[in-house]
């Protein structure tokens, strides 16, 4: 084990008063012959925002996809090591990824509403998982999710319009509403604001900050400022290694690793 990794593992203690939601130990990811992640271990707290930063290709998305087993859908991707959510091992043959994904939502870089109405987009998850017994219940879930995603006011009178008819920022909040409609415990976001303009970004950031009250949010971002604004914990990845992980303030004001310092100050990346 290199010193960097040793330090990173050392430094994954979580600030008091926060429960560990996701506990990762010794995760390696291979794409065919190519190893994309090397022995990553960290503990991610509940009810907070954890940001993954690092230069392009360092494995942030790969790591994020481990948490909801989306790597299973990629041919040749092999994930080894231990990933526990609330103490339950999820990187295990016996766990059905389809069930897992109902409790680990994901929001992608590019808004990807389904070719359906706004209503049906949000109702998609509840419908396939049978969360609503009656139409009224479903209506309630859709409304609540849209309210939580801060979109209700804008779309309440046009629920039957296609989801694709919304603006990019609205679409991104729509897919966040879609994700929270199944009441997940963890929400993964892969660069959720990179396709949005500053105003839409601000809205989504605000939303993320609100959602933190109830969910464990893990987000990948290329914006240092965004990581600093919305996250409580920050992890810095480099070349497939977790270099440093800790409370956001410390990472940004007083990084322990030179590589982290260089990256944050924009000296490489």
């Amino acid at each position: 084990m290199t010193t960097a990794q040793a330090q990173a593992t050392l430094y994954h203690d979580i600030p008091e008063a926060r429960d560990v939601k996701v506990a990762i130990a010794g995760v390696d990811v291979h794409y065919g012959d190519k190893q994309a992640l090397f022995d990553v271990s960290m503990q991610i707290p509940d009810r907070s925002v954890t940001a993954f930063i690092g230069p392009s290709g360092c494995g942030k998305s790969t790591f994020l996809r481990c948490v909801n087993r989306m790597n299973d859908t990629i041919d040749g991707a092999v994930v080894t090591g231990s990933l526990k959510i609330d103490g339950t091992e999820i990187n295990d043959k016996t766990i059905d990824p389809v069930v897992l994904r109902a409790s680990v939502g994901m929001v992608f870089q590019k808004p990807n509403p389904f070719p359906k109405s706004i209503y049906d987009n949000v109702a998609y998850g509840p419908k396939i998982h049978g969360l609503a017994a009656t139409r009224e219940e479903l209506d309630g879930i859709v409304e609540q999710s849209l309210v939580k995603a801060g979109l209700w006011g804008e779309v309440s009178d046009r629920l039957t319009d296609p989801g694709t008819s919304l603006s990019g920022g609205q679409q991104q909040r729509l897919v966040i509403a879609r994700a929270i409609a199944v009441n997940p415990e963890v929400i993964l976001m892969d660069e959720p604001c990179s396709a949005l303009d500053p105003i839409a970004t601000a809205k989504v950031e605000e939303l993320i900050d609100e959602l933190r009250e109830n969910y464990c949010i893990i987000m990948v971002t290329h914006s240092m400022a965004q990581a600093a604004r919305v996250s409580q914990m920050t992890a810095f990845f480099h070349l497939g290694n977790l270099v440093e992980y800790g409370p956001t303030e410390e990472i940004f004001t007083n990084p322990r690793e030179r590589r982290t310092q260089d990256y944050i100050t924009g000296r490489f990346g």
Partner: protein, 566 residues
């Protein structure tokens, strides 16, 4: 070697020479320092070569396209003119003959007399009993009788006179050896189009050295005219082509200077060339459509369009023999439309589910390795000639269906049925649908699938709720294209569906389709001008209109769909 191939060869040499000359002249003008030229040296070569070759080639192509036709019409026009001149001369000779003019005026005055007498007699007979003069009537009657006899005599002598003069002219014609060509000219002027065309095709056969259906002196004379004119036309076109090429070569070569923008000019020429090619194909299409439209109009002038479009009875066969009783031909196309629709429907019932499901399997479920093998295999099906499907339907599927349904108690089942044609056509169309749908399904962005999987949906939930709805417009387009393919498909139905124009909803009966009837109408004994043959054009036009409409809709839908995801 024929003259034309010699000309083509010479043209080729000139083009090559033009390239070389253009290039060397450009280089020479800057004394070998190519960088001082506006364009690369080759462009000067291309410029000269293109101008040398292109217009000359166009002329040559025009000759190839229209040469035979113009030789033909030239010859026919000439023969007709000769015949016309002959009759003009005949009338002129008669008019110049005082004896004949005398005869004619006698005839005319006799006619007047006879007419006058007839009127007078009628007046006399209408008079009241009191005023009636039987004696006068008797007198006029006798006068009339004698005038009539004189008139008849005058008529005969005029006829005799005309015959005499004509015979004299014919004798002269025979002596000078033009009798045959004049007879040919008269024939071509006065016979109907079909017989004239048969006559000319025999003449062409003789000109080519083949055996005609009959050997007449007229035919031989026309054949030799054809050959002469063909040679004249060919030689002058050949000369013209070479002259055009030479002028273009010299002219463009003289244009070459270091500052000459050869590259831009070549660019422009190439554009013109490409435009010409696409215009040619468009014009061809328009030409085909127009000729179809024209012939259909002729058909609709015989059979009213509403009788054609809404008539329930189709039996065009009877028009062959006119002596058959009570047969005027029935051209109600509804049975054909219904047959076409039924077979298409059966084919779609087979092809759409199977094609779509295999597309879904291939694009969503199959391992990449399986996919790389299975997809081409499926597409091989599209390469099987339709006639093979046709005899498969006729010899295997048809009898099997009949055996199955007779054993189930349907005694009326026949070998040639809509069902067997539809089933086999469906199989033929499967790769069409699967390949097109596979493309549109693959065009559904992966991000949508990821989104659905991330929501905890299974693969089939994702397919049903996300992928298919997203691909639906494209799939719809694919199905429409397949339908228009099915409607236009001929070989399978010709072999497997039978000929009976039954208006039935029973797929076990034999039905007929638009395409089958077109084949039936245009093969075998033809009555050229009759509504029977013309109806084929009307059917063709209908077919064209329907498939065009489908394709337009399909392409628009697919295009819209593309825009959505680009």
């Amino acid at each position: 070697m024929s003259v034309i191939s010699l000309v083509a060869l010479a043209l080729l040499v000139m083009v090559a020479g033009g390239f070389y000359m253009g290039r060397t002249r450009a280089i020479k003008q800057v004394a070998g320092r190519s960088s001082e030229l506006h364009s690369l040296p080759n462009y000067y070569g291309y410029y000269v070569a293109l101008w040398t070759g292109f217009p000359a080639l166009l002329l040559l192509a025009a000759y190839g396209l229209f040469g035979a036709a113009s030789t033909h019409s030239w010859t026919v026009a000439e023969l007709r003119a000769q015949a016309h001149e002959m009759s003009a001369q005949f009338e002129g000779d008669l008019a110049a003959n005082s004896e004949y003019v005398q005869l004619e005026s006698t005839l005319e005055s006799l006619e007047l007399t006879v007419n006058g007498l007839r009127e007078e007699l009628a007046r006399l007979r209408r008079a009241n009993d009191a005023d009636r003069d039987p004696h006068l009537i008797q007198l006029r009657l006798e006068e009339q009788r004698s005038s009539r006899a004189l008139l008849a005599l005058a008529g005969t002598s005029i006829e005799d006179y005309r015959t005499g003069v004509a015979t004299g002219m014919l004798v002269t014609a025979r002596e000078t050896g033009v009798a045959a060509s004049i007879r040919a000219g008269f024939f071509l002027t006065h016979s109907d189009i079909v017989r004239a065309e048969l006559f000319m095709s025999d003449a062409r056969k003789i000109a080519r050295g083949e055996t005609p259906s009959e050997l007449l002196p007229e035919l031989e004379i026309v054949a030799s005219r054809l050959t002469d004119h063909q040679n004249t036309l060919r030689n002058s076109v050949g000369l013209l082509v070479l002259a055009l090429a030479a002028i273009a070569l010299l002219w463009t070569r003289s244009q070459i200077q270091p500052q000459f923008r050869a590259r831009n000019n070549v660019e422009r020429l190439t554009t013109v060339l490409l435009i010409a090619a696409s215009i040619l194909s468009i014009i061809t299409t328009i030409g085909i459509v127009l000729s179809m439209l024209f012939e259909s109009m002729r058909f609709f002038s015989i059979i009213p369009i509403q009788d054609f479009l809404f008539g329930l009875h189709w039996s065009p066969q009877i028009a062959i023999r006119e002596d058959q009783l009570g047969q005027s031909g029935a051209f109600g196309a509804i049975p054909l439309f219904a047959g076409t629709a039924m077979i298409t429907l059966i084919a779609m019932l087979v092809a759409v589910p199977i094609g779509l499901f295999s597309a879904i399997y291939l694009s969503e479920y199959a391992a990449p390795k399986f996919r790389t093998i299975a997809k081409p295999v499926l597409e091989v099906l599209a390469g099987v000639p339709t006639v093979v499907f046709g005899f498969f339907a006729l010899l295997t599927v048809g009898p099997a269906i009949r055996a199955l349904f007779t054993s189930l108690g349907f005694e009326s089942a026949v070998t040639q049925s809509a069902l067997s044609a539809g089933l086999v056509m469906g199989v033929m169309i499967i790769p069409f649908i699967s390949s097109l749908s596979d493309d549109v399904i693959n065009a559904v962005p992966q991000s949508l699938r990821d989104g659905s999987y991330a929501m905890g949906a299974t693969r089939s939930e994702t397919v049903v709720h996300v992928v298919i709805p997203a691909a639906l417009p494209g799939i719809f387009g694919a199905v429409l294209l397949a339908i228009s393919r099915a409607i236009g498909e001929t070989m399978i139905v010709v072999m497997a569906a039978g000929q009976g124009a039954n208006l039935t909803a029973n797929p076990l009966e034999s039905v007929t389709t638009i395409t089958v009837q077109i084949v039936a109408l245009l093969t075998g004994d033809l009555e050229f001008e009759g509504p029977k043959t013309l109806s084929a054009f009307a059917l063709g036009l209908t077919l064209f209109a329907v498939t065009l409409l489908m394709n337009v809709i399909a392409l628009r839908v697919v295009q819209k769909y593309r825009e959505k995801y680009d």
